[in-house]
């Protein structure tokens, strides 16, 4: 059985480390809709995929957070990306397989992945 000793070791490693993970004004926010509609449509694995990808790439200025119903239930799972300059992109019907691309292309390189956005979805 996994014990709490490991947590103590993590604490000891964290000691003395300066916390550079600050959600300041230069932070990108990834907001995942986690109301009933989002969860039923598959938001939970999407949220996990974003959290994991941000951790794996050690992205210090990216915060993954959750929100309630965005009001566009038919497009769930919905992920909104807010860049530091206030620009908002709404990705719709997001699947875990899309997460790497959104992180690498949009969040790191700054190129919106237009094929997954709500504007593209509305064009049908």
């Amino acid at each position: 059985m996994k014990s709490l000793d490991e947590l103590k070791a993590i604490r000891d490693r964290m000691k003395g480390q300066v916390d550079i993970r600050e959600e300041g004004s230069d932070a990108t926010r990834v907001v995942v809709g986690m109301a009933t509609c989002g969860i039923a449509a598959g938001a939970r694995p999407v949220l996990t995929a974003f959290s994991n990808a941000v951790q794996e790439r050690d992205l210090q200025n990216v915060a993954v957070v959750q929100t309630g119903c965005i009001g566009l239930c038919m497009y769930e799972p919905i992920v909104e990306v807010y860049k530091a300059d206030g620009e908002k992109t709404t990705y719709v019907k997001v699947k875990p397989e899309m997460v790497e691309e959104i992180i690498d292309q949009h969040i790191i390189k700054g190129n919106v992945v237009t094929k997954y956005t709500i504007e593209t979805a509305k064009l049908g």
């Binding site: 059985m1 964290m14 986690m34 039923a40 959290s51 951790q55 309630g68």
Partner: protein, 184 residues
């Protein structure tokens, strides 16, 4: 309709988050001999009036002003009752709410328990200001995750820290596997 019991748990636990609970207790109990799977979600949030409790189990009563209620509870209730099980919700204003769903374990209509690791991990790491006590038991074996213990060891509630978050994920995955293979 949700496809896993664990998704219902995630959804209903969000109600406790919105009720501004400081402690949310989630228990999943598997009793093979009794042919039951019992899920309990208990919080010390703002609670509901008798009138509100009646409304949350009726999906068609919800109006825009009570939109935060929605389909979560009806889905949870239906998922248990369609197995021949039962559902109850008890609440008191200012005290909190207890929701219990009992499933008939062997029912063909019982949806899989599913990925409890992801459900509890996302609740704990996304709501670091709230304490969670999660117990998972199966036929006498059990494990518990208590964020109050984590908080004490770490000296903080930084569960979103990458190392801590990874630890919580592994802790859940390994302990689930040791207790029963019903949950991922």
């Amino acid at each position: 309709m949700m496809t896993e019991i664990s998704l219902n748990i995630l959804d209903v636990a969000q109600n406790s988050v919105r009720a501004e609970a400081s402690l949310i207790e989630i228990s999943v109990m598997i009793d093979t001999a009794g042919d039951r799977l019992t899920v309990t979600i208990k919080d010390n949030g703002c609670g509901m009036s008798e009138e509100q409790v009646k409304n949350v189990i009726d999906p068609f009563f919800t109006t825009r002003t009570t939109r935060k209620i929605g389909l979560g509870i009806p889905f949870f209730k239906q998922s248990a009752e369609m197995t021949g099980g039962s559902f109850s919700i008890k609440s008191e204003l200012g005290v909190g709410t207890v929701t219990e769903a009992v499933y008939v374990l062997s029912s063909i209509d019982r949806m899989p328990l599913g990925n409890m690791t992801q459900t509890i991990h996302s609740l704990v790491t996304m709501n670091t200001h709230i304490d969670f006590l999660y117990t998972y038991s199966a036929d006498g074996k059990e494990f518990a995750l208590d964020t109050r213990e984590f908080r004490e060891i770490l000296g903080s509630g930084d569960f979103a820290n990458p190392e801590v978050s990874a630890f919580i994920m592994d802790f859940l995955r390994e302990n689930h596997a040791e207790v029963s293979d019903l949950a991922e």
